[in-house]
């Protein structure tokens, strides 16, 4: 997981506390809930126990004594009623306590997962893909929750149920108990086996579903290719094959699910049969001959029935505990991740003037060197453009400045302070970084632009937002949206064009007004006219703050005081716009290319009288 950046800052004292690596810690946080739940369960089983005894009393009273109704039946019945209510309350309470504890554990873990993500940031994605992270947050978390709720509750319940039922059964007849429970071990083994087989089959099912999803996904994403090449038939055939595979996987699962209950049912029915057979023979003998009274028989049957479900559940519970622990292990991959980028030791300076100095900055992804010995300075209130082709390392440079990637020591200085020595909040507030990829959240336009605001709905904030949108030359288009500022954008909302997204993201960074503005290619999808207007706004901003503009557009670079040209991670040229043109190097080549391109665009906009053959001309 370590990258090869040299000399990342060592972890100072103010590092955030790491979550403990033991699942028991999370469970212990809710110990009171579990204990109360256990208490409730105990009371519940006790009540059930008493109900069984009362039924014996009632039955024996009815069939074997000469007592009146009241003594033989009425009183036990009333007691049973009261106990039934107690059982109701305790049963609900125990479920509430235990299952809620499970949900609480889930809640805590999920919040910690996000917090960890926020801390570690982009460096994370070198070890785990986005999909894997999401899988931990959904599937694995569910398994952990099942353990913490359902699992714990059933373990405790089984213990109490066993205790309360066995008490009756053994008191009534030890031998009958042995006979009735003969099939129990088999039952547990079988349910345990089923549970793990079920889990495996479900996994296979998931994989098959994953393949199906991929097939559909690529078919739909490549719809143009499919249509242009007339691939519909072959795609249909491909889908049919995978569909059949998924069907087979589903049926495999169905067979297992279908066999599970009958087989466990048969085993427990066998147990009941044994009870019935032997129990009936004891009834036949009668209590005088060492057999059973009706009441005893009845009470025994109730107790046995009460024990059956917990025993069946036991097998599942063991698997749930197992899976929960495995899932927690996977979760630890995220929770235990050490953030490489941490606060520096210096106190935050009172004011940032905005001087940015880069000295000999080098960076590599694994073996691949991205930046080599880059140096330049942006004076406070000045503007510098970084120009280069795609892949020259410009975006990496921008991310290193804001410490979104692990910045090496002594390479980046703000106002003379090493960024690694400053608190993270200071660095991030000092440097306003607008990403190249214009990421928008699935929320309203105003909340996207006002992302940095604490109170985006207040009138002052709305004013700021509108101003920022105007500067980014996107306000008119926002007004044209169905709900204007309240339109929901982002992945689940209205789909905006690339240029619109870029300008929204630009507005977001302009709103923030940091001392140093780092804009990473904010104009790539924008046409020349809009570009000029945006550059005007940026220039106005430049009067108040330092601007580092990363671009491949010469027209934008020309507006900056100084230009630094990067090629394959190295600084190859440096100077003002005129100086570089005169050098007739890479920059000059760019300038020519782009001049030609804009002239072509101009040409495309001219009004020309259309003619069909080789005659007539254009202006």
């Amino acid at each position: 997981m370590t990258n090869t950046s040299q000399q990342s800052s060592s972890a100072p004292a103010s590092q955030p506390a790491r979550p403990p690596s033991r699942l028991s810690h999370y469970l212990r946080a809710h110990l009171s809930k579990y204990l109360l739940g256990a208490l409730m369960l105990g009371t519940f089983q006790l009540a059930m126990n008493r109900i069984d005894w009362l039924s014996k009393q009632a039955i024996d009273g009815i069939f074997h004594s000469a007592e009146g109704v009241t003594a033989s039946a009425m009183r036990p019945a009333l007691w049973m009623l009261a106990l039934a209510v107690v059982a109701f309350i305790t049963r609900v309470a125990s479920r509430l306590f235990m299952f809620n504890a499970g949900r609480d554990v889930e809640y805590t873990l999920r919040a910690e997962l996000l917090a960890r993500l926020h801390q570690v940031g982009m460096a994370f994605y070198r070890t785990l893909s986005a999909g894997e992270i999401m899988s931990r947050a959904t599937n694995d978390l569910t398994q952990i929750r099942l353990l913490a709720g359902f699992g714990v509750m059933n373990v405790i319940n089984v213990l109490f149920a066993l205790g309360s039922a066995l008490q009756i059964m053994v008191s009534i007849s030890g031998r009958l108990t042995l006979v009735s429970l003969a099939t129990l071990p088999l039952l547990m083994v079988i349910t345990r086996g089923f549970s793990s087989r079920l889990f495996q089959r479900t996994q296979k099912n998931q994989e098959s579903l994953g393949q199906l999803t991929e097939c559909v996904q690529s078919n739909l994403a490549g719809v143009r290719v499919v249509r242009s090449f007339g691939l519909e038939e072959s795609e249909q055939a491909r889908f049919a094959t995978i569909n059949r595979q998924y069907l087979a996987a589903s049926l495999g699962l169905a067979r297992l699910r279908g066999a599970m209950f009958p087989i466990t049912g048969a085993i427990s029915a066998a147990g009941m049969l044994l009870f019935f057979g032997y129990g009936a023979s004891l009834l036949l003998k009668g209590p005088e001959n060492g057999g059973l009274s009706e009441g005893s028989f009845f009470a025994f049957s109730l107790a046995l029935a009460r024990m059956t479900w917990p025993m069946i559940a036991m097998g599942f519970v063991v698997s749930i505990v197992q899976r929960g622990r495995v899932s927690f292990g996977r979760m630890l991959q995220i929770l235990d991740a050490k953030p490489e980028i941490v606060d520096g030791l210096l106190p935050a300076p009172k004011q940032i003037h905005g001087e940015l100095q880069v000295r000999g900055l080098s960076f590599a992804y694994g073996n691949r060197s991205v930046l080599s010995d880059v140096s330049f300075t942006v004076p406070a209130g000045g503007s510098v453009a970084i120009v280069g082709r795609t892949g020259a390392g410009k975006s990496t440079l921008a991310q290193l400045l804001a410490r979104l990637l692990p910045t090496p020591r002594g390479a980046v200085l703000i106002d003379g302070f090493d960024v690694c020595d400053l608190p993270l909040t200071t660095v991030r507030t000092a440097i306003g970084y607008a990403q190249q990829d214009a990421f928008l959240f699935s929320t309203t336009v105003s909340r996207n632009i006002g992302f940095s605001l604490d109170d985006p709905d207040s009138p002052e904030s709305m004013q700021k937002i509108r101003r920022a949108a105007q500067e980014a030359q996107v306000l008119t288009e926002i007004e044209g949206l169905p709900e204007q500022m309240d339109t929901i954008v982002g992945e689940r909302g209205v789909q905006l064009s690339g240029g619109q997204r870029q300008r929204l993201a630009l507005g977001r960074s302009l709103l923030w007004q940091p001392p140093i503005l780092v804009l990473d290619d904010p104009l790539s999808a924008v046409d020349a006219k809009t570009e000029a207007a945006i550059l005007d706004s940026i220039e106005k901003q430049a009067a108040k703050r330092s601007v580092l503009l990363i671009t491949h557009r010469v027209a934008a670079a020309a507006r900056c005081q100084r230009i630094v040209v990067l090629d394959r991670g190295r600084v190859v040229e440096e100077g003002t716009h005129e100086e570089l043109l005169a050098q007739r190097g890479i920059y000059a080549a760019f300038a020519e290319e782009q001049k030609m391109a804009s002239e072509l665009e101009e040409l495309g906009r001219l009004d020309i009288v259309p003619v069909q053959s080789a005659a007539g001309g254009a202006s």
Binding site: I62, A73, M74, A77, R91, V92, L96, Y107, L114, L117, H118, M122, A130, M134, E214, V216, Q217, A221, V223, R227, F229, G230, E232, E233, E235, A237, F239, N243, L247, S250, L251, F261, P262, A266, A270, L273, F276, A280, L284, E294, S301, T429, F441, F451, D455, D457, E483, I488, G493, G585, A589, E592, E593, Q594, L600, I608, P610, Q612, A614, A615
Partner: protein, 636 residues
Amino acid sequence: MSSGPEAKKPAVAPSQAEQKLRAFHDEDAVQKSYDVKLLQRLWPFVKPHMRYVVLSLLALALMAALNLLRPLVMGRVIEHAGAKQSDLLLRDGAILAGLLVVWQLFSFGQMYAMQLAGALSMADLRGHVFAFMQRLSLRYFDRTPVGRLVTRATNDVDAVSELFASGVLNALGDLVLLIGIVIAMLSLDWQLALIAFASLPIVLVLVQFVRQGSKRAYRDIRTKTARLNAFLNEQVGGIAVVQAYGREAAIAKEFDQINSAYRDANKRSIYYEAVLDAAIEMISTLCIASLLWWVGVQKLGAKPVSFALVVTFTQYIRQFFEPVSMLSQRYTILQSALSGAERIFQLLDEKDLEQFELRVAANPSVAVDPDEALALDHVTFGYKPGVPVLRDVTLSAKRGEKIALVGATGAGKSTVASLLLRLYATQSGCVRVMGKDVCASTRLELRNWFSVVPQDVFLFSGTVLTNIAMGEAQPDRSRAERALAQIGALELFQNRGGLDARVEERGSNYSTGERQLLAFARAVYRDAPILILDEATASVDSDTEAKLQQALSVVMQGRTALFIAHRLSTIQAADRIVVFHKGCIVENGTHEQLLQLGGVYARLHQLQFAAAKRVTSASEVAAPSRTAALAGRSGN
């Protein structure tokens, strides 16, 4: 969201933005459930597999019958025990054993038959949805995110299949059982039965209460789950933005609201389920208690109740309440299945389909040049109504002719290619391929004429071979190799793992240049008579540039070709050049003719070529390797 003061003012309505957000995220909520209509629409998919459903239902009926018998036999066993008839006891004991075994067997058969019916029906439904999506118009795809469509064919169908897999339909059998139990108990001893069921109304009230509550809780859980996962997903994708703006704390607060809302919704659901479960237990104890009390009352009366009957009735009571306890769970699954079905049928109701009816050519009498390969005849077209992209365009190419379309971006060049392939329908005018109106050809017939090398090459996940031989179940290896060799890229790909090298999703492990080469290889492999090349505008390094040039010259040979060209060298390879401007054709001729005209083409050429010359001399010192590349290319 994270607005502290706002949240503490209950009198103030949520801001407009908040309202919109709430509405947006709740819009997935299950609305009024048109249950019956949806079930009706599912019927055609279940119908072919009806025999399994019938089998299952028959088995259910039998199982219900066996269930009804069981307590009776139990009672008889007890009777015999009481009467000390051990041989009869054994006989009835054996019958009981037999009943149990047979019941379990039937249970397996019943469950499996039902699941079989479900899995087969859903496979049919899935295939139907997929086939339907192949017919949706390209316009629909332009405005719908792919992710949403994918879930229709996968997750939503799965939700519906749970209907069968989880035994929801067993509720029908349970209903029969319940009725049977009531009848049996009434006929055995009606007074006892009535006493036992005295507490039934309470159950009904409870079930109603729980049903309402859990329906709401369930809906809540679904929307909150979606919101939670969407939020997390976005955090994972946008972490750089969050960090850059230092919004970790604010986001954590916002997330906490969603996280706790999700937790609380689940807790509510736990509450309802717990209450239902416990209540049913309590009621069944109540029934037994009242039973015992009545038995006690009757013992000194005219007709005392036997112990055997008590045992029988207790069994019946237990059997009665079992299905009731599963009610809420089954209802949840039903709702989930129906909402999945609702979404699926919403898609299937989509009207924006590819119009592919065969139309007889408007003017069959129009004389068509037998040598004509492709033609546009007074075509007007626009993607959006009222915004024409092509205006009254007429052009044609003979077989073997190579024409280049040039012009500024947005002038309409790529659209010509789309129309030739009939990816969109024209508003007026006629498009002909190989002399035949495209409207009169079938889809496959038409597209088999073409090989397309597009601007952005889409690669399917698989191998290099499957990507070259697209669509073929048995790709021809030697043919693919020959194709690569012909375009001079065989060595390049062999160094990267050869024909069996893995291609990741969307071809992310290959560079732009390599993807273009694969596209050329596809064209050669396919060997169709007409080539359409939509040149990429992104600049590539000179090495790849040269390879692409060579590949093009090979692929071009002996075919009719349509280039949408940006590179000068490509343009010069054409026999004829057609110049587009704002949707109309403004010039048409050979390179020399058009230069002489001194019009649009001449200007274009001057810009590109002359500038390239300037650039050449300028950067000679700085970067000699780039010179050659620039010389033949436009920017943009």
